[in-house]
């Protein structure tokens, strides 16, 4: 009632005033508009509160955290040795994903919505090796089993496919279902422990070119470390598998037809 301009414009104006990037004309407008002035002051107050750091952790807790973090270097191999190992496992993942991407859409298409609904409720990690896999009998002859066994240590790799994404909500339902009950690409393919998918998950999405059509998104892990998996399709029908380490958004990718 007291704001003659559209809300979005006012938001931007308030921001400009709060950030001290407003023009002289905009400042004059604020000076002549008490409601706007109040809102700017309100926002400045919020900023001031946000700027105050929250209470610090107890030093003993900090010490324990740092000690735990440092022990991660003790547990892992030296960086120069760890890197090739990761790449080997990542290469194995690419093989799994590449062949899985061919077979899973067919399998996913055969899955009924009831299967999806019943799986969504389960959020705890499950091991596909111990779970029934009747729906995936066709993957028993999956040729990826051979090469995988040669390159990936047992139980080091988990993988979950989330299927095609015709719509966001459908993607989410299918994602949860497939994460908790993934198709069995081989005896190495197990559910991602505690897997979940959030509609706002945009981690590392920026590494995928904006022109690409995102068809499949998934998650998995390599030796306990999380990986995000995108499968994109381009107009030429080439598909690219993106295996992304979510901390630094480092990418392993492979394009195939």
């Amino acid at each position: 009632m007291t704001e003659p301009t559209p809300p979005l414009d006012v938001d931007a104006l308030v921001d400009a005033l709060v950030e001290d990037t407003a023009s002289p004309g905009e400042r004059e407008r604020m000076a002549n508009d008490p409601a706007l002035c109040a809102r700017v002051e309100h926002t400045r107050g919020l900023r001031a509160q946000l700027a105050e750091p929250p209470p610090e952790l107890d030093p003993a807790i900090v010490n324990r955290m740092i000690s735990t973090a440092l022990s991660a270097t003790d547990a892992g191999a030296e960086p120069t040795r760890a890197a090739p190992t990761r790449w080997l496992v990542a290469a194995a993942l690419v093989l799994i994903v590449a062949l899985g991407a061919v077979t899973v859409p067919r399998l996913a298409a055969n899955r009924t919505s009831s299967n999806t609904a019943s799986s969504v409720a389960s959020t705890t990690g499950t091991d596909a090796a111990s779970a029934p896999s009747g729906a995936d009998a066709g993957t028993e002859s999956d040729p990826t089993a051979g090469p995988l066994e040669a390159t990936a240590p047992a139980s080091a790799t988990t993988m979950a496919f989330l299927g095609e994404a015709p719509a966001d909500e459908v993607l989410l339902d299918r994602a949860r279902a497939l994460l908790t009950n993934p198709p069995a690409f081989s005896d190495r393919a197990t559910a991602a422990a505690g897997a979940s998918v959030a509609p706002t998950d945009e981690r590392c999405r920026s590494v995928v070119p904006t022109g690409a059509i995102l068809t499949i998104i998934g998650s998995g892990s390599v030796q306990g470390e999380e990986r995000i998996i995108f499968v994109t399709a381009t107009a030429g029908e080439a598909e690219t598998i993106w295996i992304i380490e979510p901390t630094a958004c480092t990418v392993t990718r492979q394009t195939f037809r």
């Binding site: 308030v14 919020l46 946000l50 929250p54 900090v62 973090a69 760890a82 959020t123 959030a198 901390t247």
Partner: protein, 199 residues
């Protein structure tokens, strides 16, 4: 120090972690909205830094990379717990923490304070994660739009838009100034209401 830490020198690595830990925790605390999840996220971030440091290639500033790790850890924690934006943990520890913070926050001029820390935490938790993270990075850490864009992996224009919308949402979620000429009046909760909230 960074180079030494990357070479695996333990003292340098420890010093690096100690130096970065307060900022990491602050980001995690603001994004997760409670002490427990913030501690978990901080721990995850510290571990991720240790593991990822050998791969840090210096294409971005080290602090930017650290903030990215911290932000991702906090967002992961929120998602892992399956919280919706409106869900707020209000444990005894959180209330005590908020009360301590509030005592500090109200120290200068309480009459002009538009909100208290408890309200702020709750309002932040109502923000979608897409808005919450950039607002926290801007207003808590003081990062500029380009840095936030680098941390979040989104365009700077998107950062600007999300911050603007996020602040507007925060302002709506928290006590609003009364519209009209009496701009100095605020409809903030009274301390009595706050005391009731604390039992």
């Amino acid at each position: 120090m960074l180079a030494a830490a990357q070479r695996g020198e333990r003292d340098a690595l420890e010093a690096l972690l100690r130096h970065q830990q307060p900022a990491i925790h602050a980001v995690c605390r603001r994004i997760t909205g409670n002490d427990t999840d913030a501690a978990d996220a901080t721990q995850d971030a510290l571990i991720a830094i240790v593991k990822g440091l050998p791969r840090f290639d210096g294409r971005s500033a080290f602090s930017t990379w650290v903030y990215r790790v911290a932000t991702n850890a906090a967002l992961d924690e929120v998602r892992r717990r399956g919280r919706r934006p409106v869900a707020v943990v209000d444990t005894e520890s959180d209330r005590a923490s908020a009360a301590r913070h509030r005592a500090n926050a109200l120290g200068d001029d309480p009459a002009n304070r538009v909100s208290d820390c408890v309200d702020l935490d709750r309002a932040l938790q109502q923000l979608p994660l897409d808005f919450r993270a950039p607002v926290v990075l801007r207003d808590l850490l003081g990062l500029d739009y380009a840095e936030i864009a680098s941390v979040l992996g989104i365009p700077a224009g998107t950062v600007r838009s999300r911050i603007s919308r996020g602040r507007a949402a925060l302002a709506r979620a928290l006590p609003q100034p009364i519209e009209g000429p009496a701009a100095g009046n605020w409809t903030r909760p009274t301390d009595v209401e706050e005391a009731n909230h604390h039992d």
